[in-house]
């Protein structure tokens, strides 16, 4: 029973590099989300999706891109990594009006 799987768990990037954070869920949930959590802060919504082919911005979308080609996968893309993007990234999924299920996060450092 995998739930929400995020890869990688840890990554160090250099400024200006790009990478994709992977997120997959096996619960057939329509809704998927990306959050970031900075030290001592709550989670902030980056992007979300209500179904395959449909995405929308959250509170802090700048510097990120997403796509949703399948129900299961919701990758997050960083095009030009900046130190301000050093954070822990969480992916979540849910059905409508149900609590969100979270993955265990990707810890990203940009140096």
């Amino acid at each position: 029973n995998a739930g929400v799987t995020q890869t990688p768990k840890f990554r160090i990037l250099k400024i200006g590099q790009s990478m994709t954070l992977q997120c997959a869920q096996d619960m057939n949930h329509n809704y998927m989300y990306w959050y970031r959590q900075d030290p001592g802060m709550g989670l902030k919504l980056i992007y979300y999706s209500v179904g395959a082919g449909i995405t929308d911005k959250g509170e802090v979308p700048n510097g990120y891109n997403v796509s949703r080609s399948t129900t299961e996968d919701f990758p997050l893309r960083l095009e030009l990594a900046a130190p301000s993007q050093t954070s822990v990234y969480f992916c979540a999924s849910s059905q409508l009006d149900q609590p969100q299920h979270f993955g265990d996060g990707t810890r990203l450092s940009i140096l």
Partner: protein
């Protein structure tokens, strides 16, 4: 503008006693509130929720109280157990799936 606030960064409680975690919000349009629990190196896990049409919801040792006039909610844990030691996040949403999180409160249960 912090719409959801948890003003106590940490709380220490003796095992067997009651733990009370507090949360305040500013957006009167929020209509659904949740508490999540988070262990180190793991994603948040859903604990309990409450709709704005209720003022109390109970699930085993956990009870959430909502005071809409004061824009305040609280989580009561009775009796507190060592396994309850974690960071607790309050979250709110406005009729949709986009959660707004508080900063979290670190609860430590002492034997």
């Amino acid at each position: 503008d912090q719409q959801v606030k948890q003003n106590s960064p940490s709380l220490s409680v003796q095992e067997g006693r009651i733990s009370i975690l507090n949360c305040d919000y500013t957006n009167s349009m929020f209509d659904y509130f949740l508490w999540y629990k988070k262990y180190p190196a793991e994603g948040p896990t859903f604990l309990i929720s409450i709709s704005s049409i209720k003022d109390k919801n109970e699930d085993g040792r956990f009870t959430v109280f909502l005071n809409k006039s004061a824009k305040h909610l609280s989580l009561h844990i009775v009796p507190s157990q060592p396994g309850d030691s974690a960071v607790y996040f309050c979250a709110a949403t406005e009729g949709a799936q986009k959660l707004v999180f508080g900063q979290g409160t670190r609860l430590t249960i002492n034997p």
